[in-house]
Amino acid sequence: MNATFPKKPSRSADTVVVAHPDRDAHVQSFLPEVVHGISVSMKHFFHNTKEMLKDTRPDPVLERLDVGITTISYPEQKRPYPDRFRGLHRLMQREDASPRCVACLCCSTACPAQCIFIEAGEYPEGDKRRGYERFPVKFVIDELRCIFCGYCVEACPCDAIRMDTGAHAVPYDSRDQFIFKKDLLMSFVGRDGTHLTANPRHEPGEPTHPGIDRSHAHG
């Protein structure tokens, strides 16, 4: 065996040799630092105990960078979610409390996780919307599969699905409970507490309705 070991590289010109740290009695005895450490502990202890007893702890959201205990006691206290937080989905409603959704399947098509299932249905004969729109007989979102990308909201042409509930899925007992059906999705409200949007839908028969039905479109 004629192993050759690489030579130790010579020290380059810009190498800085760091001197050994001072090892005087002050450092080696550790005592000054021990006293310092314990005094820091005591400072925090007395400050926090005082605030605990007087119940003047800093607000965990507004004064979160302040000195003291800024723990959020989670289920009882919550940090408000930011404005554009994408939470659980909800289905918007029209004035007559029927879903705004027209079952166009844009959202389920756009969904990269394929977690939306829609079964479209025709309005019954005689309904004013028949021939103009369809409606979702079933609208199911698997919240376990959802990746909360928000593409469904962007894809929706009639502002029927939103993710502005400000809530997130709570830990349920079983997987079935994460399969959200139409009725549940329609029962959620937005942050303003309503089911409606600011832009009402133009219903067939109203003067503002374009009046184009499917038979026209496909000639």
């Binding site: 926090n48 607000d59 507004l62 302040d66 003291g68 205990i69 206290q77 919550k78 408000p80």
Partner: protein, 455 residues
């Protein structure tokens, strides 16, 4: 032994062992809650008990009760190849000496039972007793320590040394490498620091001229607290006592990051609970020893058997007589209060310092603490000899110096209480940062909703 003596002995055992058990339990809570306060956390506050619909949280004290209950219901696992007899014996061996050690620790001065109160036709009066003098006839006097042994502190040493046996047997019988390593470390560490414990107290024994703990406390009451005559010994004893109770920064026997949990890795259920509990009770007993030998035991500055009398040397400043019953109560409360304060201070040490490396631990024990304690003995011997040959004037000067230290202790206590009181009522303004929509939402709601678990 008469019936009365048996009764008094039982009461004393109840007080001392009851204090030990309760303080051990409270210390498990204090350790968690105090560390939470040190580290800006909330700490345990979830355990709740409902009485008639009212929730009691007791600042998280119920967690201790819940833990104790849990220990009883956990599986009592014994490793298949463990030595079953020794495995079961080890926790008892760890616990027993701690309990037996408190027998020689005095928690109050001798009580003259007949002088506690007198029933007279005009009502009950509470007389004072003379400061010095012969024991009163009749019932009592009762020494407020369980066993007035004349070997005193030697008994305490003997029992403190037994702590090794429990740890070593636990590690050996568990059939686990980590346990064995932990036991080895525990044994060598405790043997090493036992030397310092013993030698650091030799100086104190030379000054006090006795090995009886109650006589040591009486000496401190008449002269000055032991911490002033033996500061180096106090310091050495404190370090060695922390090392003896195997706590951070000396918790190498159970170093979690290296040895899982050391010599009680394999223990579960109440057997683990006994080790855990013995460790906390060891803190209490070591604090009791420290208080007794160095911090004046039951003594308070200027409080004597007959009442308060402030003297500087032979110059009398002020004095008043206090009923014997009040003096006794003050003294017992003072002793237990000092012990609790010292336990709390040990928790501060624990939550501030990092763990030693094993070679550093051994070096500290054998190369630093041991020579220091030997030097302390040497110096103390010279000083004791020198003061024995002093004239009356110089001894009077020493007496004045002793009384000045009493005054200093008194002023320190008053200063600490005042500082805490002033600090408690000083308002602390908070600063707000309104960055981000979450903070703005919270601001709009008038702050975050308070949690119901404030305690």
């Amino acid at each position: 032994m008469t019936g009365e003596q048996v009764l008094f002995a039982l009461i004393k055992i109840l007080i001392m062992v009851g204090f030990l058990f309760n303080t051990g339990a409270v210390l498990t809570w204090l350790d968690r809650r105090q560390s939470a306060m040190i580290q800006d956390r909330i700490g345990p506050n979830r355990a709740v008990i409902k009485v008639f619909g009212i929730e009691f949280r007791l600042f998280g004290l119920l967690h201790t009760a819940a833990d104790g209950l849990k220990f009883f219901f956990k599986e009592d696992f014994i490793p298949p190849k463990a030595d079953k007899v020794l495995f079961a014996l080890a926790p008892m061996l760890a616990m027993m000496p701690v309990l037996a050690l408190v027998a020689v620790i005095p928690f109050g001065d001798t009580v003259a039972i007949q002088y506690l109160w007198h029933r007279t036709p005009s009502g009950i009066i509470f007389p004072a007793v003379p400061r010095f003098g012969a024991p009163v006839p009749g019932v009592g006097p009762v020494d407020l320590l369980i066993a007035p042994l004349n070997v005193g502190i030697l008994y305490a040493f003997a029992l403190a040394g037994q702590g090794i046996v429990g740890a070593a047997i636990a590690g050996w019988s568990s059939d686990n490498k980590f346990s064995l390593m932990g036991a080895l470390r525990a044994a060598s560490q405790m043997v090493s620091y036992e030397v310092t414990i013993g030698l650091s107290l030799v100086g104190a024994m030379m000054v006090y001229g006795t090995v009886r703990l109650d006589d040591m406390v009486r000496w401190q009451g008449e002269n000055t607290w032991g911490i002033f005559v033996q500061p180096a010994a106090f310091f050495l004893f404190f370090i060695a006592a922390v090392a003896e109770s195997k706590r951070i920064p000396f918790d190498l026997p159970e170093a979690e990051s290296e040895l899982v949990s050391g010599y009680f890795t394999e223990y579960s259920g109440m057997k683990f609970g006994m080790f855990y509990f013995a460790e906390y009770m060891e803190i209490v007993t070591s604090s009791m020893l420290l208080v007794t030998i160095f911090l004046g035991g039951w003594q308070l500055p200027f409080l004597h058997r007959d009442g308060i009398s402030i003297d500087f040397g032979y110059a009398h400043v002020w004095s008043t007589l206090l009923p014997h019953i009040w003096v006794t109560i003050f003294q017992v409360v003072a002793f237990f209060g000092k012990v609790l304060l010292l336990c709390s201070f040990q928790a501060f040490v624990r939550w501030s310092l990092p763990r030693f490396r094993y070679d550093q631990l051994m070096k500290l024990g054998w190369r630093v603490l041991l020579p220091c304690s030997l030097a302390n003995i040497m110096l103390t011997g010279i000083l004791v000899l020198a003061t024995g040959h002093l004239g009356a004037e110089a001894s009077g000067g020493l007496k004045v110096a002793a009384d000045v230290t009493q005054a200093a202790v008194f002023l320190t206590i008053v200063g600490c209480v005042l500082t805490v009181a002033v600090g408690f009522f000083r308002p602390q303004p908070h600063v707000r940062w309104l960055a981000g929509t979450a903070a703005r939402f919270a601001q709009a709601r008038g702050g975050t909703k308070p949690s119901p678990m404030q305690a």
